[in-house]
């Protein structure tokens, strides 16, 4: 079966120009989002996963700037579009949901109206048609009594309900791509499970999703393809089972070891020594070399390239082949 990509990111670079120097939040990131699949980006705080998502939609705040690379949506480069053309893409062809639904919703506007908003911006519909579609969308994302809920304000809804409203807003224009940035991080586990199931239903109905999460459990449960980021760069990517069965980069192995030692009930937990490095003072070579047990002479000086270690599985490490798990 031929795999088609909805979105192709090529050598994307986003930097923040601060008084103390340039912070490379996204450094040479290339990534494919496959049609009708859930592609995940996983990493710890500050690794650049959210900035990658924001760069796609060009939602960067000063002093952040996109300084290079291409973002191809069905072959069209979004970095070359005018601001006006970009507005048509946001919410129309690509939509995004965020971690905290309360801060992303307008507190003084009924939720039904907020769901309609994108429709009225991007499609020319009568008020009645827009209302009907909004209510149908609320029902489709699993909100009981959608007519009644459409007349509620955000504060009258629970966290899980608000996230469903956000998803309804994002899906109302039938976007080519849905970007979900930590969509369940603010939710309780039982509600998280409901939202993850909804994301899988959207995928099964043909929506392409880019899911950003710090939670390897969430990634393992819903993603088809996974990219691991560390300090602004992609360090490993593979199909989900391949990645969890054969993690190869020392960082990926450390992360998985940390999580699975919690699950296995061992007496001492596996950790990754040290802390996430300051992006202002990265070594010239591999950013993980400071914390890596496999680090050898030269690792900190020379940047490793992404190299294939199996079909569809690439790793950014000098020592692949030597330290294979």
């Amino acid at each position: 079966m031929e795999e088609k990509n909805v979105l192709e990111i090529r050598q994307l670079r986003t930097s923040f120009f601060t008084r103390r120097g340039e912070i490379r939040a996204v450094d040479d990131v290339s990534l494919d989002v496959r049609e009708g699949a859930i592609t995940g980006i996983v990493g710890e705080s500050g690794c650049g996963k959210s900035m990658t998502a924001r760069s796609i939609l060009r939602l960067l705040k000063y002093p952040g700037r996109l300084i290079g690379g291409e973002v191809l949506l069905d072959g069209r480069d979004l970095t070359k579009l005018t601001e006006k053309e970009m507005s048509a893409v946001r919410g129309g062809e690509i939509s995004m949901i965020f971690q905290e639904p309360m801060t992303s919703l307008n507190p003084v506007m009924r939720v039904g109206r907020q769901v309609e908003e994108a429709l009225r911006l991007h499609r020319r519909l009568s008020a009645r048609e827009a209302r009907e579609q909004a209510v149908a969308m609320l029902a489709a994302v699993g909100i009981a009594e959608p007519e009644k809920r459409a007349r509620c304000y955000p504060h009258e809804l629970s966290g899980g309900m608000r996230q469903r409203v956000m998803i309804a807003m994002a899906m109302i224009c039938k976007p080519r791509l849905l970007i979900a940035d930590e969509p369940t991080t603010a939710l309780d586990v039982t509600v998280q499970a409901q939202i993850l199931r909804l994301m899988k239903e959207l995928r099964d109905n043909g929506t392409s999703i880019l899911l950003i999460s710090h939670d390897l459990g969430v990634i393992a449960q819903v993603c088809d393809y996974v990219y691991v980021m560390y300090a602004g760069r992609i360090v490993e990517h593979a199909e989900v089972c391949e990645l969890f069965d054969h993690p190869t980069h020392p960082y990926t192995r450390g992360l998985l070891g940390a999580v699975s030692s919690l699950e296995s009930g061992s007496n001492t937990l596996q950790t990754i020594p040290g802390v996430v490095p300051n992006l202002l003072h990265l070594p010239a070579g591999c950013a993980f070399s400071l914390r890596c047990g496999e680090c050898r002479k030269g690792c900190a000086e020379h940047l490793p390239a992404l190299r294939a270690c199996a079909p569809g599985h690439e790793v950014r490490c000098h020592r692949i082949g030597e330290v294979n798990a």
Partner: protein, 321 residues
């Protein structure tokens, strides 16, 4: 002396919220914490676990019920008389960014509890004690005069832990101490907490929404729903053989870190958590429970012993089969 370090009997904590209404954050909780154990307290947001933690060490004055510390009733002690007990009960907070004064350096932060309780006679003695505490939590001594903003989240949490153990307390309430940390750092802190418990013979009440963290650390686990305890059991037994339907749903909802074990068919909990202002009659969980019958709607189940579990469910035996 009592066999329990801390015991609560029918402890309740209500908050007035205006219009004559009250929010029942904690209702009639009877709980025993044994000397030297780690008791895990889990539940979803708003279930009252943090309020219970604070009420147990009287950071909040309970609105009902009694508290016993080493067998002595401390519920109604005046603040001055309660002070010696305060030394025995310390707390570690969730957010290492919000819980440290940004204008105090590490020495001042860790020395604060020592000063409050007049532990050290001289400044030199104080510095020596602070350095000793820093070593115990894995902070290099040269950080003595640094300020909180110069540290990462994990290191700040180490400062918080040093403050909590400064007075050699008997009990530490840990309220979501690793929730704000990344996994790689989270495990360092969990290992440290476990090591300190063994070395200093501490007792923890460990509050967390993360079931896998609690499984690693706790000897016994207590599950809360809507201000009440629904189940308490030894850790292994609770995770392998949960009796309360809510515990089962909670455990099933945790996403497993294995793409081969996807929970496509698992039943999910539907509906919403009821409001703690208008608590449902009978079992507080009956509005979401698929096994609830008429009995569950009318009669509130008491916590009763079933094997090595204590469970508040009328139908626990039936569900076992």
């Amino acid at each position: 002396m009592s066999e329990y370090l801390l015991e609560s009997r029918n402890l309740s904590m209500d908050f007035p919220i205006g219009h004559g209404k009250r929010l029942h954050a904690v209702s009639e909780v009877s709980l025993q914490i044994r000397e030297g154990e780690i008791l895990g307290l889990v539940g979803e947001s708003g279930c009252g676990k943090s309020t219970l933690g604070r009420t147990l060490i009287r950071l909040l004055q309970p609105t009902g019920g009694e508290l016993f510390f080493r067998g002595e009733n401390v519920t109604k002690l005046r603040e001055r008389d309660f002070r010696p007990y305060r030394r025995q009960m310390q707390m570690i907070f969730q957010d290492p960014y919000a819980s440290l004064d940004p204008r105090m350096d590490v020495r001042a932060l860790i020395a604060e509890p020592l000063q409050t309780h007049h532990v050290c006679a001289t400044a030199a003695e104080m510095t020596a004690r602070v350095l000793e505490l820093m070593e115990a939590v894995g902070l290099p001594g040269e950080f003595l005069h640094r300020y909180p903003h110069q540290f990462s989240g994990g290191q700040r949490q180490r400062i918080g832990i040093a403050r909590a153990i400064a007075l050699d307390p008997a009990l530490i309430v840990c309220d979501e101490p690793v929730s704000a940390l990344d996994v790689s750092v989270q495990n360092q802190i969990l290992n440290l907490l476990k090591e300190l418990r063994d070395r200093k013979h501490l007792t923890y009440l460990f509050i967390s929404h993360d079931l896998s963290v609690v499984r690693f650390l706790a000897d016994r686990v207590c599950v809360m729903f809507l201000g009440r305890i629904c189940e308490i059991a030894p850790t292994a037994s609770l995770y392998e053989k949960p009796l309360h339907p809510y515990t089962r749903f909670l455990l099933n909802a945790v996403p497993k870190c294995d793409p081969h074990a996807r929970s496509e068919e698992t039943a999910l909990l539907t509906g919403e958590v009821p409001s703690p202002v208008e608590v449902p009659s009978g079992c507080p969980f009956h509005t979401r429970c698929p096994y609830a019958d008429a009995h569950c709607q009318s009669d509130r189940p008491a916590l009763r012993t079933l094997g090595d579990h204590a469970v508040a469910c009328h139908r626990a035996e039936k569900l076992l089969q």
